[in-house]
């Protein structure tokens, strides 16, 4: 009787696993030995196309290791007790920044031709994040047995903080100055081919910028 009961219980468990909704197959399925069936659906959501006129002149690769320790506690209005155990993570990230000159507002007013002298006044430079990759292979987390592993959403939140930190310190990298110099190096040969001597070409900018102004030049990654 006992054996019959155990057999029935196992059979019930097995059938309950089999009755889940069926799913489509995926290439990921082959990667995991325990996988029996996989669902994969690709779905395009939105695409926004915009015309630009930006001359990207310099590119910086920034590396940062985002460090985080989750000091959790039982809190609220009445409690203040630290939770036991530890929960730490180190996430290496690589950010690509590009400095650019936006020629959208560029016009004949920005060009002064005085005899053989060409004076070009360029618009203010800008900085944009073109990509951010998380090195998941080298991401390390150290979590006590009583605590939960870091979820993907949590890691993304920390990565975003890391990106914000890089943006805050952007004036230290000298990317705006590099963008200006590189813009001059790109445009001077063009003017030389137009017949101007290199010594008669002046490329200038509106003004020098301090750290706060430089921070305002950063175009955040498109916030949907």
């Amino acid at each position: 009787m006992k054996k019959l009961f155990l057999f029935s219980l196992l059979l019930l468990l097995w059938t309950s696993c089999q009755d889940r909704p069926t799913a489509l197959s995926s290439p990921d399925a082959a990667a995991t030995p325990t996988a029996t069936k996989t669902v994969d659906t690709l779905s395009a959501i939105v695409a926004q196309v915009r015309g630009r006129n930006r001359l990207h002149t310099t590119e910086f690769q920034i590396h940062k290791v985002v460090l985080y320790e989750d000091k959790a506690k039982l809190g609220g209005k009445l409690l203040d007790i630290d939770m036991p155990g530890h929960r730490k993570i180190a996430v290496p990230i690589d950010i690509t920044l590009k400095g650019y000159i936006d020629f959208k507002g560029f016009s004949a007013a920005n060009v002064k031709l005085i005899d053989s002298l060409a004076i070009l006044t360029l618009p203010d430079p800008g900085v944009t994040v073109t990509s951010l990759t998380v090195d998941r292979k080298h991401t390390r987390q150290y979590v006590s047995i009583a605590r939960a592993n870091f979820s993907d959403a949590e890691i993304t939140r920390l990565v975003r903080q890391g990106e914000d930190s890089v943006m805050r310190h952007i004036s230290r990298f000298g990317i705006v100055e590099a963008a200006r110099e590189s813009a001059a190096r790109t445009l001077v040969p063009l003017l030389c081919r137009m017949g101007f001597k290199e010594s008669n070409i002046i490329v200038r900018f509106r003004k020098d910028f301090n750290a706060d102004e430089i921070r305002r030049f950063v175009t955040p990654f498109k916030a949907h």
């Binding site: 695409a47 993907d152 990654f221």
Partner: protein, 263 residues
């Protein structure tokens, strides 16, 4: 000759105060016999600590003697402190009980791994999203990971691919031979903007990387089509024409050299 004695009505009057009151009524010849007042008896000087101890002892004694009053006062103090503590605690917007986590990351250095000059003229940018789902069914439980990836594909002209004589002036006409428009960045997904819509079970780094690769391929397939490339080409012509017009060229002739659109 009168010699003042303390009156019977005020037997406890201090002996030292008599000479102060007397000169008003004293006759003029009384100054020959002035009694010097007796010095006051020396007071016992207690130390500061001893005085405090005595005071405390008396207070304690009084508290014990009137123990009911003491008990009531202590109770009032305890109730008042509890009320103040509760008011302070309950005045903010936090819930009564909660699990709180530290939010901010630690300070860590940022390292410039590489910097280079580029000459990329961006004429079209495409902001796009891609929903990637992975579901796995196993004997010991199912796993699900649904993420939305976001990226911006920039299409334009890489001037580093242009030949040295890409621009030739011919009178008032500029003859421009440009490399064709291409995708300017091979990496265009910003993972900090990825939204993890649903996650169940553990997913390793390789599996997450596979999802990222699939999102990248899907975005490329959708964004890098003939229509967008043509639109970027038109935008390039329009913007370069405007630029050369600013330098005084009335006409601009364009030629695009074929390129692989992928970087």
């Amino acid at each position: 000759m009168s010699h003042d004695q303390p009156s019977a009505a005020s037997p406890a009057t201090d002996h030292n105060q008599q000479p102060l009151a007397e000169p008003v009524s004293a006759p003029a010849d009384a100054d020959t016999r002035i009694d010097t007042p007796a010095p006051p008896p020396p007071k016992k000087r207690r130390g500061c600590w001893a005085g405090g101890f005595v005071l405390l002892w008396r207070l304690l004694a009084a508290a014990v003697r009137h123990w009911r009053v003491t008990l009531i006062l202590i109770s009032l103090l305890v109730v008042g402190f509890a009320a103040w503590w509760l008011t302070m605690r309950l005045s903010d917007d936090r819930p009564l009980f909660s699990v709180e986590h530290s939010e901010a990351i630690a300070e860590s250095p940022e390292e410039i791994r590489a910097m280079r000059d580029i000459g990329q003229w961006e004429f079209l940018s495409i902001d796009t999203e891609e929903l990637i789902e992975s579901h796995e069914r196993g004997l010991f439980g199912d796993r699900h990971l649904v993420r939305v990836f976001r990226g911006t594909l920039r299409i334009g002209i890489d001037m580093q691919r242009a030949t040295p004589d890409w621009f030739t002036p011919k009178g008032e006409t500029a003859v421009v031979r440009l490399p064709d428009v291409v995708l300017l960045d091979s990496a265009f997904i910003n993972e900090s903007r990825t939204v993890t819509f649903y996650e169940e079970g553990n997913w390793n780094a390789a599996e997450k990387q596979k999802q990222l690769d699939r999102a990248r391929q899907a975005m490329l397939k959708r964004a890098l089509n003939a229509q967008n490339l043509q639109q970027a080409r038109k935008q390039a012509e329009s913007q370069f024409r405007y630029l050369f017009n600013s330098f005084g060229y009335k006409d601009v002739v364009f030629t695009f050299e074929p390129q692989n659109p992928l970087p």
